[in-house]
Subunit: 315 residues, 2 copies
Amino acid sequence: MKIDFKTAMHRLQSAEDVLILAHANPDGDTLGAAYALLLALQDLGKRAKVVCADGVPERYRFLYVEPQDDFEEKYIVSVDVADRALLGKAVEESYGDRVDLSIDHHGTNRLFAKESYVEPDAASACEVVYLLLLSMNVHITKDIADRLYTGVSTDTGCFCYSNVTPRTFRIAADLMERGADAAGINVKMFETKKPGFLQLEQMVLQGMELYENGRISVLTISRAMLDKTGCKDEEIDAIVALSRQIEGVVIGITCKEKADGSWKVSVRTHEGADASRLCALFGGGGHKRAAGCSFDCSRDEAVRALLSAAPSFLP
Amino acid sequence: MKIDFKTAMHRLQSAEDVLILAHANPDGDTLGAAYALLLALQDLGKRAKVVCADGVPERYRFLYVEPQDDFEEKYIVSVDVADRALLGKAVEESYGDRVDLSIDHHGTNRLFAKESYVEPDAASACEVVYLLLLSMNVHITKDIADRLYTGVSTDTGCFCYSNVTPRTFRIAADLMERGADAAGINVKMFETKKPGFLQLEQMVLQGMELYENGRISVLTISRAMLDKTGCKDEEIDAIVALSRQIEGVVIGITCKEKADGSWKVSVRTHEGADASRLCALFGGGGHKRAAGCSFDCSRDEAVRALLSAAPSFLP
């Protein structure tokens, strides 16, 4: 059931012993939102803990907060999770049908939780969490501000994408004033390219395929490439972004081979092409400009399927 | 002579028949500020025109405003110009000693104008111009907002660099609300990579030199590389930025060969290394994190000179 902002705020205010769930393959937004909420609830005197199927990758380690004494959860909140399947298998099995509140910014949220507060116009889940914390009169400490800023900046490609609104900028300003180390976080998230990453980028570009007069790009990241360059799954965001940065490309498709041989597909689009609707055809979802889906078949079959549908989404 | 904000505002209010000078090798900030000021002065019923030694490159063509009837200038304003030499030879010869007002954000401004209003803490000249226009009660139209936003976003690497302050974010929010097409401008400025640019990036990375245990990088962009890839001078900003994005690099040096065989050096640094002070040793200047200087000798001699000084600037 969908609930409004005030109800979501009241739920958080009255919640005790809160388990916060981030999505699998975590990014800066789900982890930033989860740990910011954790710190806020702890500041309010509540017990809280965070669970993510894939833990906290090295890249996002600075967001991590050491757990306090364990407890049995009485209330479960998910952040930035559009579908219970995105919790990852183990977490979904344990908690998938027990989520009390989903706080999200995906218009494609499947409303899998008992109650869902979804703001599709928010650029990030952290933007939503910030507004909820403000309304709860939480004191936004530097530690909370750092985590929220990370989600706000990473989910907008550092304020570059079309999901940025004036509100996004004003929240970023507020978070800086509350101590967020914007410059330091940006250096970590956007300005630190490992030699292996640059190598991977070159490999991927060399294999780039263009279709529909260069309006659709397909990039492929195989396990072999990741192994050879030592790049980790969480480091490829910039390559996914690159897929639509090629001049003329409207739909950028990145196929990443997962450890089990299946393929995770990320779609990035420019105005006029709806990534979310394209991915929905294959059981995925997301936002208009950024969405994803998964394939259990071979890469070539996945690309064939995508290319049979994608051209009709071109403007 | 340095003047304060209010005096600068009064000068613009009482100026008539205004010539606005942008710096040579123009970027989004100098052109955005120049054309925003032009439109604002015209809205106030004044005559105004813009001069830039190198014209308006294709990349920034969307900032250009068709000139109205010509007139003889009675007041000359420069924007984003730290030194009269940066006006470019022809423009400097005509106007270098006649600039009435310099509006700038470079702490290294040489105060070459009769009066200078410099805000070293402003992330861009457009930030300063925006505040001046606001105080003059100029109606910020969509056309003005687009131009100011372009300077604000390009001079901050799309809000990524450490020059961003809460004020920068709030100005960006205001400009969006006044109609700036932030997403469209960002696509042009940050999300459109030509095939030739990607080729150039690979060439430059293959020639990357690292010194001082990888803390200093030197990238070289020769005329031959630009010719081969068809890249233009104004398209290399992203490569200059790349010089300090390599993991471990604190001082990133990019040497670009100019058409006359001399070398333009751009320095980008992380915290702890002052690019502006390093470049000042060679007659250049700029900001702490981004500065430049020029060399008339060979590339190797220039690099040798830079490397004799740069290590002492490492933190």
